[in-house]
Symmetry: C2
Subunit: 186 residues, 2 copies
């Protein structure tokens, strides 16, 4: 393993500042200078440690959704569990919001978003849906509803979406996700 370096604190500070800036400003408006100012260091350090802006974004958007094991759960609750989990994940920090923001204008961001959902939501879907052949389609449907809620609630901030309680959202979206996963294809 790589031994701990003296600069690890700085590296972490840069990464944290970068996450916040990317999340609130998007890729273009999140300038290296602003990120460095937030982290309390010189812009050139960012370049030294992460190569260039793209490298910084790649490092800042590394993420684990950490979906729970669904195999052991009662099949009829999967929808609610999934929505609850994503909602919690989204409220905890704003990396996902940032990723969503960047994914919309930046090709690298969009690809990363695709990869995350393919690798982390895909397997779950494959395990629970009736016909494995249309698992990708079902995963995309689930993604459309979950990302759509994240979009209206955390990015566009449409007032009624912001005001809803997590429980309310789960109650509404849970059955939708459940249907996308387990209902027979129309």
């Amino acid at each position: 393993m790589t031994t701990a370096r003296r600069s690890d604190a700085t590296r972490a500070a840069i990464l944290e500042a970068a996450r916040e800036r990317f999340a609130s400003d998007g890729y273009d408006r999140a300038t290296i200078r602003a990120i460095a100012r937030d982290a309390g260091i010189d812009p050139s350090m960012v370049m030294r440690y992460y190569g260039n802006k793209e490298g910084l974004f790649a490092a800042a958007s590394e993420i684990e959704i950490g979906l729970p094991e669904l195999g052991s759960l009662p099949a009829q609750h999967i929808g609610a569990v999934l929505v609850t989990h994503f909602l919690e994940r989204w409220e905890r920090d704003d990396v996902l919001t940032g990723l969503l923001r960047v994914g919309v204008t930046n090709t690298a961001g969009a690809e990363r978003m695709q990869a995350i959902f393919a690798q982390q939501l895909g397997p779950v879907t494959r395990g629970v849906c009736p016909d494995p052949a249309d698992a990708p389609r079902r995963a995309a449907l689930v993604a459309s509803q979950i990302l759509g809620m994240a979009l209206t609630r955390y990015v566009l901030r449409i007032p009624p979406a912001v005001e809803m309680s997590p429980e309310e959202i789960v109650a509404w979206l849970g059955p939708t996700v459940q249907r996308y996963l387990t209902a027979e294809a129309p």
Copy 2:
């Protein structure tokens, strides 16, 4: 009424180029210079006719969703009709995609997106849902699913979402929207 000017063609060309650029590149990357180049004129003309970049965006993002009259329709088909209509609207041109892209990174864009849905989706919702008091919430839920599909299909371009046929999407999303509009609150 304002009389026709000789520069109307140029104005229109600028607007069209702006719509395309905003749609494909987002607010920041859509530079006035690039828009002017597409329109075949000098960047300074853009400033003369639209004041500044914000003014140009405001003019380029003026939009009518043109929802159909739903009052006369059988209540149980509203969901499918709505999804069909939005899908068609989204496929027809890319102004909405552009608006979505800009709304994610730009405050003015987000506000415009909010306004569009409040003014054009709100009334429809109010007419069909059981209790007018939670009409805004229901509208937000509908928006979350429709915008989510637009996001995954037209912006992030998640492959399975792109490959689905319009009929398939309507078949999956229609019941969801229907439930958000007319089912009793959970």
